[in-house]
Amino acid sequence: MKIKIKGTGITKFGELWSQSLESLASDAALDAIKDSGLEKNQIEAVYVANMIYGKTANQDQLGALIASNLGIKGASLRVEAACASGGLAVHLATQAIMAQSYKNVLVVGVEKMTDVGISEITSALMGAGSESERKAGLTFPGLYALMAKSHMAKYGTTKKHLAAVSVKNHYHASMNEKAQFPFEITEEKALNSPEICSPFTLFDASPITDGAAAVILSSDLTSGSTNNVYITGSAVASDTVDLAARDSLLELRATKEASVKALKQAGVEIKDIDIAEVHDCFTIAEILAMEDLGFCKKGEGGDFIKKGITRLGGKMPVNTSGGLKACGHPVAATGLKQIIEIADQIRGRAGKRQAEGINCGLAHNVGGSGATVVVHIIQS
């Protein structure tokens, strides 16, 4: 597989009161179109990723809505796989391009979360779980808290290990002007913040965020410019929606499967990965990702991060965007943001958080508690 990332665009992530979902999507998309150098009429399809807007705003048919707002005619659709919506939309675009259905596809991930209250958002996000989880009042943080407790009991992972993820990602975000929380935090602040769901404090959880991110994917590998960055692997794996039905609470099997498939497609091994954007919806998720993607052994994720290997300047930086925790998590936009961050690192556009010698990156996007996982390999 070799699909060009011809252009990217991303809005600020945060509480964007004066922006609507449609304006966010347009902003990101127009930036991506500009970056690509393409004309609007060269874009044959618009894939829109979004999770909750249908519920919170009663607006469906987002594909057609956003395409027509942009003045783009052609195919349009909306993709949903909870928090993996963005990655999945990119995956579908790669498949369409490989099938030669389209030459240029615009993929936009957008989420507007701050118009409704915290209880409604908590409920809307529980749509990623199962009905029995909803009836039990088992919230989205609750699901990951159960995994964290299991990991802590089995491998001795501590609250400090969890806090280390948050501290690192905030450090990265402090160099990202698009991030929701562009400031550093101390371990103490993370540990002493209010408890939301044992053992998680406020700083173990990604925030509620508005934002949009877009990429233009193209089968045209030749037309020059500075952006020689390609998707070389795109894989999806599924698991049970119900956490209680999983084989193990200590891993996301779908991460392992998708990672193996994507690496194979790209013809690279895990040791070839220079940089990664992983799905830290909660701090434990980044620890699990290090293990399940294959960067370290099962159970050693906490120490792996604490050693500093994944901090900017270390051997393999992870989540230089700030991750979901500090950059923000406009649900369906995250998968796109991750790919854009890696593309920027490869293109040398990451500003103060630019890492050195980046040629091959991995993006890891998870839906819910791990029922859908999408992994992309991006290379120069």
Binding site: I118, S119, E120, T122, S123, M126, S130, S132, E133, R134, K135, A136, G137, L138, T139, P141, G142, A145, L146, K149, S150, A153, P194, E195, I196, C197, S198, P199, D242, L243, A244, A245, L249
Partner: protein, 98 residues
């Protein structure tokens, strides 16, 4: 939120769980609740195993100190969430430690 036909179907399943006992595998304490559960916070939720079936349930009548891995639990029937004034009440399975 609640749909009478769906509740009717779900209620029919409750009979087979009466009196069941099992154990608690893992649990958490929820402090930020979704719509319909705000009045219950803080509450405990966990994954239990009942007759070989693993399921997520709310844990009631429990003291935090009581909850240990493999804690023995028993099924109780309680109200699920909080029905809006014009809605049908949903009853469902929860567990309490024994």
């Amino acid at each position: 939120m609640t749909k009478p036909a769906e509740i009717w179907r779900e209620h029919k399943k409750l009979h087979s769980y009466l009196g069941k006992q099992g154990k608690l595998l893992v649990w958490t304490k929820i402090l930020v609740a979704p719509v319909g559960f705000e009045h219950q916070t803080p509450y405990f939720v966990g994954i239990v195993i009942l007759d070989g079936e693993r399921m997520p349930v709310q844990i009631v009548d429990a003291d935090e100190k009581q909850l240990k891995p493999n804690q023995k639990v028993e099924v109780v029937i309680r109200k699920i969430g909080k029905a809006k004034s014009e809605d049908v009440i949903e009853y469902g399975i929860k567990v309490k430690p024994i």
